[in-house]
């Protein structure tokens, strides 16, 4: 647990809030048709891309903050660069995830802790990079809903469900099966990016990010 003076006045509050356990039912599925497999990746941009999002970050108690998120991705290298800016354009954080390594180029207090960098880049990776391994199970429901399940090396689970018509959900569970993060993505998709995204984190910190795409890839 991280404690610092004045921490309740900043977004680092994400990391000091109590642990949350949200029961979200788990879907079991047998291995699906190879033809359906590409649909497990349809919500992730395939080529190089960049984006600008309007972000509303909401923490415990409903306090919120408006930010601008600028992200650039190179999926083939599993590389993401992410900037957080104030509405006026001050850069609060500039970091890069490359091959699993995080490099922080710039971070202004209180966004300068390693925990913040790790949490932020994990969120960005969850939103924009598919799991590295092949899904363990996948398939299509009778109503056309795609369901894909991955198991991570740390025994965590990622489940992606949805369709282009109804929207998509990414659910990440820890090794005990407890939901730690949930992302809801709604279209229309512009250059492979969802127009509206809501990320809810339950564990280890509780917060919500509402993101609206304002400037997609060129």
């Amino acid at each position: 647990m991280i404690r610092r003076k004045g921490l309740d006045t900043c977004l680092l509050g994400f990391f000091i809030l109590f642990l949350g356990c949200v029961p979200i039912s788990e879907t079991t599925l047998s291995s699906g048709s190879p033809d359906d497999l590409p649909d497990c990746y349809v919500i992730f941009p395939a080529g190089p891309w960049e984006s600008v999002h309007r972000i509303e970050a909401i923490i415990k108690g409903g306090a919120s903050s408006s930010l601008i998120g600028v992200t650039k991705g190179e999926p083939s290298e599993r590389r993401l660069q992410s900037l957080l800016l104030t509405p006026e354009g001050f850069i609060l954080f500039d970091g890069e995830l490359r091959g699993g390594e995080i490099t922080v180029r710039k971070a202004v207090a209180p966004f300068d802790s390693p925990a913040f960098a790790k949490g932020l880049m994990e969120d960005v990776a969850l939103l924009f990079l598919p799991p590295q391994v092949r899904p363990t199970t996948w398939g299509k429901d009778t109503d056309g809903t795609m369901i894909c399940n991955w198991e991570g090396p740390d025994k965590s689970h990622t489940e992606i469900t949805g369709s282009m018509d109804s929207g998509w959900r990414i659910l990440r569970r820890d090794k005990h099966g407890k939901a730690i993060k949930e992302v809801v993505l709604n279209g229309p998709f512009v250059n492979g990016l969802a127009s509206r995204v809501e990320l809810r984190a339950f564990k280890p910190a509780s917060y919500r990010l509402r993101m609206t795409l304002v400037q997609p890839s060129p």
Binding site: I59, S66, E88
Partner: protein
């Protein structure tokens, strides 16, 4: 070598002439601004980041009162407002149809920038403790602000391009280390127009 020497002399001379003429120029800038009681304008901000191929565009408006109040408001892409009255700053953002107080962040940077902007609209460029300044008569006339030690990590240089209209700023350009920069262009500038004092009190 000779050419380089000549170029160096030229650069040094141009900086010296800017510095030598400064006390007179600062006085004339203040004189031009002394009748300004209020300013209202719209602005277009272009944020050039190395990560983006196209600049990030933001639009907004501001209200300034010479008594020491400033409202700096963004209308897009994030609707937000900074209200400065004397030494107090309040930040809000607009979400779900209501104005919400902003969780405090980067307040010192914002406070510094707002105080600097307030000074610029009063022609008080030479009173900054944060920036060293140079005046270039142009046209267009420009004030170049170079940060003193401390904030030079974040800002490399600011150029304030003055309008031919006395006391009016056309454009501000802010350069950062690492190649990112911001341009703010002002338009529909109204000098001494009347507006409610509430613009500085309520989001």
């Amino acid at each position: 070598m000779k050419r380089f020497f000549f170029l160096s002399i030229l650069i040094v001379t141009s900086f010296l002439s800017a510095a030598v003429g400064s006390s007179q120029d600062w006085a004339s800038l203040k004189e031009a601004s002394k009748n300004i009681r209020s300013v209202k304008a719209e602005f277009l901000q272009k944020r050039y980041l190395q990560i983006l191929t196209k600049p990030l565009l933001s639009e907004g408006r501001f209200f300034f009162n010479a008594s020491g109040s400033l409202r700096w408001e963004y209308l897009s892409p994030v609707r937000s407002v900074m209200l400065q009255r004397g030494g107090t700053i309040q930040l809000y953002h607009f979400s779900e149809g209501v104005w919400k107080p902003e969780i405090t962040q980067a307040v010192e940077s914002r406070r510094m920038v707002l105080f600097e902007i307030s000074r610029w609209f009063q022609g008080r460029f030479d009173e900054s403790k944060v920036f060293r300044n140079l005046y270039s008569p142009g046209p267009p006339a420009r004030v170049i602000l170079v940060p003193r030690e401390g904030i030079d990590r974040f800002i490399q240089r600011i150029e304030v391009v003055l309008s031919a209209r006395p006391g009016v700023i056309d454009r501000v350009e802010i350069e950062e280390p690492g190649g990112s920069w911001t341009s703010i262009e002002f338009r529909n500038v109204e000098i001494n127009s009347s507006f409610s004092p509430e613009v500085f009190e309520k989001p």
